[in-house]
């Protein structure tokens, strides 16, 4: 599951945000990937389309890295299952 989510992140970050694929690692922060706060909001919209899970503003507060976001989405998917 989380491997699939990582692949989704990589695709979105490369295709939508133009991040070089090799820069996308689980512990990469969004800041280090060149995403600012508006980009992160946009990222949540694209991810919602891909995963069906929407990360709300308050849930983003402690999300800094790709892995943080994957964990949060996984948590919500499991809660919904």
């Amino acid at each position: 599951m989380s491997q699939d989510l990582f692949a989704t992140f990589q695709t979105v970050l490369v295709d939508t945000f133009g991040v070089p694929a090799e820069d996308v690692t689980p512990d990469a922060t969004f800041e280090a990937l060149g995403l600012d706060s508006l980009d992160v909001v946009e990222l949540t919209l694209v991810l919602e389309e891909e995963t069906g899970v929407k990360l709300e503003d308050e849930e983003l507060e402690d999300v800094r890295t790709v892995q943080d976001a994957i964990d949060k989405i996984t948590e919500k998917q499991q809660a919904a299952a």
Binding site: T16, F17, G18, G34, L38, D39, V41, E42, L45, E49
Partner: protein, 420 residues
């Protein structure tokens, strides 16, 4: 009055359908070859008019940094590219370190004043269908910052570090000239030492072209190369263009203090409203007369020293005649001595960018002693009694030029530019 600071031009940047960069654009208008083509996107959308003048293709992410294509509207791209050339031309940056960041003077004393008629048109065109399809909860957070018409000026400030007054004026097709007017006044009054002033526009979308066509404003000529024909008896409307022109304006004292060579003086500026009609000028030239008179008076020069006019000259039947009448009213018999061109024959009508781009062409004409020809002027309208240059550039040496701009809403602007 004596305390007024003299305002000079120390740098210029252009992105136009006639060419990218000052040299290419200038050579493009000198060649007198229309830049208009049938646009594939417009043709595919089935718009009533499919011809327009595009700027040369560019790769936004490569030239402006990763994410520029996604985060910035096209009009901002063009503005940043023109501003970059202008600050480099003025020697305000250390190109080896950063192509845009101002280091040659205190950036807190550098303002930015741009004109734009429409702002982020392409962003509206792209995002609204997406919104309808995906719903309110998927509206892009990028939409507002991309489409706001002041975003080009804001983006240039972020990139150059200029923290002086930062404003965007909108007087439709006079906006580029209006921006130069206001920028000049900020320097003249001592609010800023340097102001990047100009116009930016990228308004070619299927929606805007269709709407301009429905107004009857656009040429329906089937031959793109012949469509924009200012002052010609067969003119039938303008051709939409896009582009940007940015000038570095500076107090003469400040320019000389840092060893920058002035290219020209912004000697006079005038503005007015027709107070008449949403889109049509009054037949007698109306408010344009006032704007030109005010610019000449403001310059404090003998009107007969003005030898060249870069006309608004849109190629619409109403505009070109009204402009000729306005000139006659202001200049009387001296009108016959004005060497006139409309560079819109080549570039099309750049709307909010036009006034700035054409002011730059007027300055180039003065510096080079060459007035570019008006493309497609084969038979001059007998109702237009002006000495319009056609065919080849004309060699003329002169000390002062006028550039006129008239916007929908009846807003007029005129600039008098003199030799430095």
């Amino acid at each position: 009055m004596n305390a007024r600071r003299n305002v000079v031009v120390t740098g210029m940047g252009l992105v136009t359908p006639a060419g990218r960069g000052l040299a290419d654009a200038w050579n493009g208008v000198l060649a007198g070859k229309a830049a208009a083509v049938v646009d594939e996107e417009l043709a595919a959308a089935g718009t009533p008019v499919t011809i327009c003048c595009r700027v040369p293709a560019y790769d936004a992410d490569a030239e402006l940094g990763r994410g520029a294509k996604r985060r910035l509207d096209r009009f901002t791209h063009l503005g940043v590219l023109a501003a970059r050339e202008a600050v480099q031309h003025a020697g305000l940056v250390d190109v080896d370190d950063d192509p845009e960041r101002i280091v040659a003077t205190d950036p807190d004393r550098v303002g930015i004043l741009l004109g734009s008629g429409i702002g982020g048109a392409e962003t509206w065109a792209d995002e609204y269908p997406r919104f309808l399809e995906k719903g309110p909860n998927r509206a892009s957070p990028m939409f507002i910052p991309k489409m706001l018409s002041n975003t080009a000026a804001g983006t240039i400030a972020i990139r150059t570090g200029a923290r002086g007054p930062n404003m965007t004026v909108n007087t439709a097709c006079a906006a580029g000239a209006s921006a130069i007017h206001v920028a000049r006044d900020l320097i003249r009054s001592g609010v800023a030492d340097v102001v990047l002033a100009g116009g930016v526009e990228a308004g070619i979308t299927a929606l805007s072209i269709s709407a301009f066509a429905q107004m009857g404003a656009l040429s329906r000529n089937g031959d793109p190369a012949a469509a924009s024909r200012p002052f010609d008896v067969d003119r039938d409307g303008f051709v939409m263009g896009e582009g940007a022109g940015v000038l570095v304006l500076e107090s003469e004292e400040h320019a000389r203090g840092r060893g920058a060579a002035p290219l020209a003086v912004v000697a006079g500026a005038g503005a007015s409203a027709d107070a008449f009609h949403a889109t049509a000028p009054p037949e007698d030239g109306g408010g344009a007369v006032l704007a030109i008179q005010r610019a000449v008076e403001d310059a404090g020069i003998d009107p007969t020293s003005i030898a060249h006019l870069n006309a608004h000259g849109t190629s619409t039947p109403l505009n070109d005649v009204a402009e000729a009448r306005a000139l006659r009213k202001v200049f009387g018999d001296h009108t016959d001595d004005l060497v006139v061109t409309s560079t819109k024959g080549v570039t099309g009508h750049l709307l909010g960018a036009a006034g700035a781009v054409e002011a730059i062409f007027a300055i180039q004409a003065m510096r080079e002693g060459l007035v570019p020809p008006t493309a497609n002027l084969t038979t001059q309208d007998p109702d237009i009694a002006l000495d319009v240059v056609a065919g080849e550039p004309r060699a003329v040496t002169f000390e002062a030029a006028l550039s006129t701009s008239m916007g929908f809403g009846g807003q007029n602007a005129a600039l008098v530019l003199t030799r430095a």
